[in-house]
């Protein structure tokens, strides 16, 4: 596990933020506080007395509540059922759902939430589900509320609302611990900030006495980071890159994007889709008439709150999901009847969201994974036989070119860190010189250095003349890379912005389903 000598002081009645890169141990530390994980060593004092939490039950009893990054809600149950689960009101031995609904409504009202206690959780928006989580903790009398990356899935509007909720709780005398890697947001709301790096707490500062760039430097460990140790090239994260870009939270820690002319691409159209319709895994319509155009030499961002059809759109474009309706042209052929093999043959590259499920075979070696999909063509094959030498050489070239650590084609892919695995996938897909590249959440869970590299490669692909469709839930990523952005809401396009008109607020409004307010 990922904690090494971590320490933290939580002062009652304040909003403490814990920041750090992915894998720095933030979530682990919180899960220890909440009694879910058990530390190998160390002590834990509450009001000066040592305590030991054997399970969350103990933590809850001591007034600690936690809102997990991946919501801990039972989707098939109602709001009230989720909130009272484990401490259900009863009448003559039977569940008293009416009382449960009343209680939950009362708790929600007391803290200013609008929630229908009888609504099934899987019909709620992500923002509302989060409120259910918060109410769940408050209903159990939480005095200390831990929120793990609460804004990762929210629109800017919802994030603002959450900030107010957190400040409101602190104003009522409760304590809030906010885990985040969005530094700007953290500084806007927190009283104090603790910084974690590789399982340790490396600093605690007052929010009013620090800056985004100072925090970013602490997070990545300014200069002290051994490149070989973490697999991240030192150049991507030096202090010079970090200072002076303090505009947009996590993106502030990225190397500055080359400033590009706002001129729209006039390259040939690689994808023209009209009125696409498709059904999601849950059997409900996921795409309900999506039209979009992608030209060679541009990056088209697809923004939206999770679960609004982005994933299904990417699957349609790569032949993985059947169309129910609509038509289009993709690289000179019809979009209807597209299969993964056809898509590949026409020059579609795909970096899927879940690489372990869809892009690679983790138990196979890196070179085998690089050959996957092109294993019948040179240099990976000669006639019916595997070309071991050709495969090795090409893989070595790619590993060096993409700075993958360890630079060894023969290790199992699962021995690589997530960032390096993703670099292998991107390297393989771009090496096939796609004319249309479909990428979904390309940098989810990667550390700052790897994020920068993947972004750089996407820009390279665009410069080479590929059309890129990038689905991302990270609005900052969409803003940083896209030449144009389509916003999806409930399977429809609710906004289409060229780069010069990109506005985070307006984008957020559209992500929540608002139609254009002006012509």
């Amino acid at each position: 596990m990922s904690l090494e000598d971590a320490s933290l002081d939580i002062v009652p009645g304040e909003l403490l933020a814990v920041v750090g890169e992915n894998g720095a141990g933030k979530s682990s530390l919180m899960n220890v506080l909440y009694g879910l994980y058990h530390p190998d060593a160390g002590t834990f004092l509450m009001d000066g007395k040592p305590v030991r939490f054997k399970s969350p039950r103990d933590a809850i009893a001591k007034g600690i509540g936690m809102v997990h990054q991946h919501f801990m809600l039972v989707p098939t149950l109602t709001v009230a059922e989720n909130v009272v689960l484990g401490r259900e009101p009863t009448k003559r031995g039977l569940l008293d759902l009416d009382r449960a609904c009343d209680e939950v409504a009362a708790t929600a009202k007391r803290f200013g939430f609008q929630l229908d206690p009888r609504a099934r959780v899987d019909t709620l928006t992500v923002g509302s589900q989060q409120k259910v989580e918060i109410v769940k903790a408050l209903h159990r009398g939480a005095q200390v509320l831990i929120l793990d990356e609460p804004t990762a899935v929210l629109t800017p509007q919802e994030s603002d609302e959450l900030s107010q909720v957190m400040r409101g709780l602190v104003a009522q005398g409760r304590t809030v611990v906010l885990i985040s890697h969005k530094l700007k947001e953290v500084l806007g709301v927190a009283d104090r900030v603790a910084v974690m790096r590789r399982g340790r707490t490396v600093a605690e500062v007052r929010a009013s006495e620090t800056t985004v760039s100072a925090l970013a430097a602490l997070m990545v460990g300014e200069g002290s980071r051994g490149a070989a140790m973490t697999g991240v090239p030192a150049t991507a994260v030096t202090a010079t890159h970090l200072t002076g870009t303090g505009t947009t939270g996590a993106a502030a820690a990225l190397p500055p994007a080359p400033v590009e002319p706002a001129a729209a691409s006039t390259g040939p159209v690689v994808l023209e889709a009209k009125d696409l319709r498709a059904t999601g895994d849950n059997g409900r319509p996921a795409l309900q008439g999506v039209s979009l155009t992608v030209r060679a030499g541009e990056i088209v961002g697809i923004a939206g709150v999770d679960g609004n059809g982005q994933r299904e759109l990417a699957e349609v474009l790569t032949g993985l999901r059947k169309l129910d309706g609509g038509e289009g042209t993709l690289l000179g052929g019809p979009l209807v009847g597209l299969t993964p093999a056809l898509a590949k043959a026409r020059g579609v590259g795909h970096v899927p969201e879940d690489r372990l499920a869809r892009a690679v075979v983790k138990a196979m070696t890196v070179e085998e994974n690089v050959a996957l999909g092109r294993h019948r063509q040179p240099p990976f094959a000669r006639g019916p036989w595997v070309d071991f030498k050709g495969r090795r050489e090409r893989t070595e070239q790619l590993l060096t070119g993409y700075d993958v650590r360890p630079n060894d084609p023969t290790v199992a892919l699962q021995a690589l860190s997530g960032g390096n695995q993703q670099k292998v996938v991107v390297a393989r897909e771009l090496d096939a010189r796609p004319e249309l590249l479909v990428v979904v959440q390309p940098t989810r869970g990667l550390d700052i250095g790897a994020v920068a590299q993947v972004h750089e490669r996407l820009r390279d692909a665009k410069a080479r003349g590929a059309g890129v469709v990038m689905v991302s839930l990270d609005l900052e990523e969409v803003l940083a890379l896209s030449d144009r952005v389509y916003v999806l809401y409930e399977g429809r396009v609710t906004g289409h912005f060229p780069r010069k008109d990109l506005d985070e607020r307006e984008l957020g409004r559209r992500m929540l389903g608002a139609e254009a307010s002006h012509g």
């Binding site: 039950r57 809850i60 039972v74 039977l94």
Partner: protein
């Protein structure tokens, strides 16, 4: 005509309890997220133990022994799938094979290949007055399990939908991590469901050898456990749905027996084997028509581990 319907209904109600109990047991375990393909083996264990116990004690007590035996062998499944997080389908199938082979071995070494000696069946109850009413009269003259099978599904429904325990069981089958973060014990809930399910399957088996038959036979329960699984799926993992499906399958079984005895000429047209296979073909057909497993608990078959999300 009325007479045929009456006898069909009567034999359906006679055959249904074993299926109903096993289907409810399987459903209980699966709603909590633990796959229950081992239900055939649990039934066989229950049937054998009840038949042997009935040789030395009153039959109603022997049925209790069968239930305990079902829970006992379900505990093996519990250890494998909850404690050791092994693959639940493989563990269940292993259980079936052990029960198959173990039952045959014990039967042949102690009683010979023709089954255990015959025992006193559970007594049948005649409901005065009712037996004269057309059709409804088919409700009279059954042993206790039939009447239990007509009430238990409603109690299970109440348990699942209207009690705190039921809410927790449903939650643990759909999202165990949510249950764990509330400080409830996922293993305890699942253990309870698996043991309860084993008890119900054992009861189903015991009913087979103490009412439908009067002994344990070589092939008991001859696939009834799998049919109970099908009833659970067809009934969309709900007590009342599984109940209806079990009745439907039992009717198919009764129809087979009824057809063979009331219309012997049928045997000239259709091979006997086909008639024997009818209930099972019905099961396959129903499952094929139902299609996807859209109604299964979301976390079904996934071992619970705290440190994974």
């Amino acid at each position: 005509m009325l007479e045929v319907l009456h006898s069909l209904l009567f034999s359906t109600l006679d055959a249904a309890p074993a299926l109903v109990f096993a289907a409810l047991g399987a459903m209980l375990s699966e709603r909590a997220g633990v796959v229950s393909v081992g239900v055939e083996g649990m039934m066989r264990t229950g049937a054998f133990c009840a038949a042997v116990a009935a040789l030395v004690m009153p039959t109603p007590l022997a049925v209790g022994v069968g239930m305990a035996a079902g829970a006992g062998i379900a505990a093996v499944h519990g250890f494998l799938s909850i404690r050791w997080r092994s693959d639940q389908v493989v563990s269940g199938m292993a259980l079936n094979l052990v029960a198959m082979a173990g039952g045959t071995y014990l039967l042949e070494s102690f009683f010979g290949p023709n089954g255990t000696p015959s025992i006193t069946q559970l007594s049948r109850w005649n409901i005065p007055g009712l037996s004269q009413v057309p059709l409804l009269g088919a409700l009279s003259g059954h042993a206790a399990p039939t009447y239990l099978a007509l009430t238990l599904p409603f109690l299970f429904h109440l348990l699942l939908s209207r009690t705190p325990l039921g809410l927790r069981l449903r939650a643990v089958g759909d999202k165990p991590h949510a249950v764990a973060t509330l400080g409830l014990s996922v293993p305890a809930l699942r253990w309870g469901a698996v043991l309860g399910g084993g008890m119900m399957a054992g009861l189903g088996g015991a009913v087979l050898s103490t009412t439908v038959l009067d002994r344990f036979e070589q092939h008991t329960p001859s696939g009834l456990g799998f049919m109970a699984l099908a009833a659970m799926v067809f009934g969309r993992w709900t007590p009342l749905g599984a109940f209806a499906a079990a009745l439907f399958f039992a009717a198919g079984n009764a129809l087979r027996i009824g057809l063979a005895s009331s219309a012997p000429w049928l045997l000239d047209l259709v091979p006997q084997g086909f008639l024997l296979a009818l209930p099972y073909l019905l099961t396959l057909l129903v499952l094929a028509l139902q299609g996807q497993r859209g109604h299964a608990p979301a976390a079904l078959g996934i071992p619970f581990e705290q440190e994974s999300r």
